[in-house]
């Protein structure tokens, strides 16, 4: 198995997984995986369904705890016991499941779990600020929704995805993770998301994008990490690989 480690730059990774395994009962979702994310860099994480991509990013997002192995953040070993802890470290995640509340309106979803409060009380929600900030961010991102008071239940798949992506933007995260962000999107929408990913890199973020779309992967990636059956089977700079090779790594052709 070829596993080229790439350290062309001398930069230190913002975050790293070292020898991480994750078991769900008898299922080995991840097995002894090393994974790094550097500032100003876009890593795409690819692999077949069930390869362990979502599990990997959920360990970084504080949703799952590794069964084995270490997480390093800015060089120091850390635990990320909850999504809240990940947010506190500056790790922002757009989940494959989008994680929206269908029975609530746009601002409530936009600020889900992090509603701004009025005054010093920390009790009362500052609804005005929620609405204003939602409008501004969505406008900056060129996202138009029918009405902010619409329940998410009535939004289309693309609108939901736009909302799920847009809401992680205002928090100044240094690590931005997107699990299949273009899955529900058409050509133009996908283009916008990819532009956004590039902008995040310009801002110095470490961006992790999961995608099945080879064109999208080669469009934005600096580095491509391939998982198969829970193991890392490839870690290539984009400049040193081809879509062909990546596809072979994904499906596990023997000739490599």
């Amino acid at each position: 198995m070829s596993d080229t480690t790439v350290t062309t730059e001398k930069k230190e990774p913002i975050m790293a997984l070292q020898g991480v395994s994750k078991y769900f009962g008898g299922v080995h979702a991840l097995e002894d995986v090393d994974f790094e994310g550097y500032p100003d860099e876009i890593v795409t994480l690819v692999g077949d369904n069930g390869a362990g991509k979502s599990t990997l990013i959920k360990i970084l997002a504080g949703v799952h705890q590794p069964s084995r192995g270490k997480i390093l953040f800015r060089g120091k070993p850390v635990e990320i016991p909850s999504p809240r802890a990940a947010q506190a470290l500056g790790i922002e995640t757009v989940y494959q499941e989008l994680a929206l509340i269908e029975t609530r309106d746009v601002p409530a979803n936009f600020f889900l779990g992090r509603e701004p409060t009025r005054g010093t009380s920390k009790i009362f929600v500052d609804r005005k600020k929620m609405v204003n900030d939602t409008v501004h961010t969505l406008k900056d991102l060129g996202i138009v929704l029918p009405s902010l008071r619409t329940l998410v239940r009535y939004l289309s798949g693309g609108q939901r995805q736009a909302l799920a992506i847009g809401r992680v933007m205002p928090w100044g995260g240094q690590v931005i993770i997107m699990d299949e962000p273009t899955a529900a999107l058409g050509v133009r929408e996908s283009r916008k998301v990819l532009d956004l990913v590039l902008q995040l890199k310009e801002k110095g973020c470490s961006v992790v994008v999961i995608s099945h779309n080879m064109r999208h992967v080669f469009n934005v990636a600096d580095r491509i990490v391939v998982l198969r059956g829970g193991r890392k089977v490839g870690d290539r700079m984009k400049s040193e690989t081809t879509p062909d090779e990546i596809v072979k790594l994904i499906v596990g052709a023997e000739m490599l």
């Binding site: 994680a99 889900l112 058409g186």
Partner: protein, 335 residues
């Protein structure tokens, strides 16, 4: 769901602004419910002589205030994705604890504090069973319903507690004057609690999180909401508010019976459901529960005034519950 639309799609941006006043009104559940309530009042006022008398209105308001207050707590739980079947038993329990202390000569405030404290703890126990041991709320509170009822019988040996002091009984029987109107104290207390629960659910972070947990628990936890805490608070408040309802009931009846409020949990849940609080969680508000409780009580009253045999009442109430929920489902689908 059309995947091929860009973000900037103009998908019916006008739809929400230009829709007719009628559609907007129909979309507003509370308005619909209030209209049904109003229609009932009008029909009854015209068709019976007694409905619109001060005494009758009084009795209706008194009688539904207990159920309504308990159903505000129930609403918090249901909106948070749970259900609290122990509410009826809790109503009896707070009354019995308070009454037993009162007849021992403990002062009113302390006795009430103890009665409320104990149902608050019962609620917290419900919450912990659901949040820590992951018992389904239906099972946890079904068990608790029986446990608490058992305590009611056990502590009283099955005998009602009588001889409550006037200063306590006054709570359920006093009327306040507002200008020319005289309003029963329990109804005033009910409105106060409605406002408090409305503020909690609609204006606070905790309220936002309650809707989120009920709407999609997994999404709420991914967003960093501590869902267990939210559930603990919801069940605790349901216990407390059932306790408040129980104390007002006991004060009104002047006696605390271990059999009191038997079966009320279903009325309490029905009030919330008629009021548009979806049992799947994440939706509805306290005004719905208030109107739902009023509709049920007025219906009961109407059946009596119209000479409907009392034995058939449950059938009529049941039909209304089913009808109300069907209308609500249809409304949601068609708009």
């Amino acid at each position: 769901m059309e995947p091929d639309k860009p973000f900037s799609t103009e998908e019916d941006p006008a739809r929400f602004q230009s829709e007719g006043a009628l559609t907007r009104f129909a979309r507003n559940q509370i308005a619909t419910l209030a209209l049904i309530l109003l229609a009932m009042v009008v029909v009854l006022s015209l068709s019976t002589r007694t409905f619109l008398t001060a005494t009758n209105i009084f009795n209706v308001m008194r009688a539904f205030s207990w159920i309504a207050i308990a159903s505000f707590g129930q609403s918090i739980v249901i909106i948070g994705g749970g259900i609290d079947l122990s509410a009826g038993s809790n109503m009896a329990f707070s009354g019995i604890i308070t009454a037993m202390l009162l007849v021992e000569g403990v002062n009113v405030a302390l006795s009430i504090g103890a009665g409320l404290g104990i149902t608050l703890l019962v609620g917290l126990a419900n919450g912990l069973m659901v949040s820590k041991t992951k018992l389904p709320p239906f099972i946890a509170t079904l068990g608790m319903m029986s446990i608490v009822r058992g305590f009611c019988y056990g502590l009283t040996q099955g005998w009602p507690v009588r001889g409550l002091p006037r200063s306590f009984v006054a709570l359920g029987q006093t009327d306040l004057s507002f200008f020319i109107w005289r309003v029963p104290l329990p109804a005033v207390i009910m409105v106060c609690f409605a406002v408090l629960v409305y503020i909690l659910l609609d204006k606070t972070k905790l309220g936002y999180h309650t809707y989120a947990v009920g709407g999609n628990e997994y999404a709420a936890s991914l967003a960093g909401i501590f869902t267990g805490r939210v559930k603990n608070v919801a069940f605790t408040l349901s216990g407390l508010l059932a306790g408040v309802g129980g104390i007002l009931m006991t004060a009104r009846l002047g006696v605390a019976a271990p059999t009191a409020a038997s079966g009320y949990e279903l009325d309490i849940i029905a009030a919330a459901v008629i009021g548009g609080i979806s049992l799947t969680g994440g939706e509805g508000n306290v005004w719905g529960a208030l109107i739902g409780a009023a509709i049920m009580q007025i219906l009961r009253n109407a059946l009596v005034l119209l000479g409907f045999p009392a034995y058939w009442q449950p059938a009529a109430i049941g039909a209304v519950i089913i009808g109300a929920v069907m209308i609500d489902m249809y409304r949601k689908k068609s708009i």
